[in-house]
Amino acid sequence: MTITFILDALITVIGITTPILLAATGELIVEKSGVINLGVEGMMLVGAIAGFAVTFETGNPWLGILIAMVSGAVAASIFGVMVLSLGANQVATGLALTIFGIGLSSLIGSNYVGIAIDPLDSPFPDTLALDTFWRIVFGHSPFVYFAVFLVLATGFFLNKTRAGLVLRAVGENDFSAHSIGYPVIRIRYLAIAFGGAAAGIAGADFSLVISPLWAEQMTAGRGWIALALVVFAGWRAGRLLAGSYFFGVLMALELYAKASGFAILPSQFWAAMPYLIAVIVLALLSSRDGKGGKAPACLGKPFIPNG
């Protein structure tokens, strides 16, 4: 096994991880504000079809990404109206959003089945990514760099900025935040829209880069993995970054183990293994420092002022 081979494998890992990391980062902000949105899968699909359709119609992938982001945020805002303004149950509404996203994307997408577009390439000139080593640094789609930037920025925002502190306060104790004058509902709206925008971009990663086509339900359950990762990461940005890549390594390991013939265990075991190991590792991590599993105190609870 050569270095080049390991680096090539690392490129696979980065490809697998990026959309999950993007969606999970968005959901982290949502949950930190005290709202749980189970509609990630649906918002990703809306972003995937919006990004694909706009890119195909206009030939401009950047416009496609922008519209994917906006569509995800709009879909999320529908959820926001339901749970924040109308006080609907968050879990049920989030599930409904997933179903809605699957249906809507399939409906719009029926006109785009069987169409191909060119994949979105690295934003850097080809001359920077000639060999495998430099491809690791410069050879990725813009989504890869953006995902890492976004999760680091999110970590900084949550822990080092005043606005982040307010967001966390809203998630930990909405009544206290409200009583000292913070607009709880408005902050949650913004957090939900951010989560939707990130999920929309994650969806566009699927339909513009990973497999540049539209296929119904092409995200194939990645939204649920993103949701799980937020919990496993103990609602921390740094651990979310590490956890997502760890998960990506496990998923790639499954494929490499099978293809190179050293997987002696049944194929189904390999498919389940990333989930199994992720659960075990994160359970160990959270039991060690006792802080790993701490959810925002108001997570999932509706906020009704003066109620």
């Binding site: 490129i11 191909a116 994949p119 296929a215 119904e216 092409m218 194939a220 494929l255």
Partner: protein, 359 residues
Amino acid sequence: MTKFTRRDFVKTAAAASVLPLMGASANAAEPLKVAYIYIGPVGDYGWTWAHDKGRKELEAALGSAVKTSYVENVKEDASAIPVLRDLARQGNKLIFATSFGYMDQVLEVAKEFPDVKFEHCTGFKRADNVTTYNSRFHEGRAVTGTLAGKVSKSGVIGYLGSFKIPEVVMGVNAYTLAAQAINPKIETKLVMIDSWFDPAKETSATETLANLGCDVIATHTDSPAPLQFCQKKGIFGFGQGADMSKFAPKAQLSAIEDIWGPHYIARAKAMIDGSWKSEDFWDGIKEGSVKISPYNASVPKDAQDAANKVFEGYRAGTYDVFTGPIYDQAGTLRVKAGEKLGLGDLATIDWYVKGVQSA
């Protein structure tokens, strides 16, 4: 045509189940109701897309004499049972179940509805009202394997599979044996992704095979995503179920096209004239059920000739890729020189030929 998703289906099924059963009193003027259950979305542009194309051909051919509907994204677990049961209750007289994993569920529901005819695709268990039908895709795999043997420079070719079921195993074997007939040293690396449809995982698995040295990669999953990756990477692959050349104009050497329409039309006609009986259909190149898409312009002439020879051999009935001697992975002689693996053996095959590297 009525489009159902599974969720619509649950709602309408609840309503429909309280209606009286219409089937027994149906008169001749009423159209024959035909239903399909699909493993993936009709928009997969692969396996399910090809079945749905067959369904549309049936509607076009028989017009008002038939009324078809389908339920897509039906899982291959116990949840297929209520879907099948409700389709039968809604007065469908002919139900096609188009994936291997529906086998036992079809048999179970068929027992409850003796006057409804079921047809299960790619399975091997039948009953008085259950027919099985399949295509000899492996004949197409032998043609594409021949191309792979000619085109591969590394001598290592890839196969992206879904599950270890006979249909996939015989595909891997046919592809490998045909490639070895061209270049005896050919090795096939195999990845099963435990899914029929997951474009992202299909892409990563193809990337994995490419990184392990495969320069021609066949797919046995349902989306064009692997071919798109091959295109980007500058290696080659084959369309699966449909001509996917527009997704990868350079990378697609050829494609295996599944042609289901004629079977669906023939079986619906048999229902209408009362001649339907339980049978086992296994058609291939000869009958027109398996087609090979036009070769890519980049395929060298001698490779085209070699592939054509295999294709014509199947059409004339003079060639069979499963002609011995065939050794398994451990080197044990499984088929003696001059003997052939019969269709019965193929239908339950669970071992790979020598040269396949699998987990």
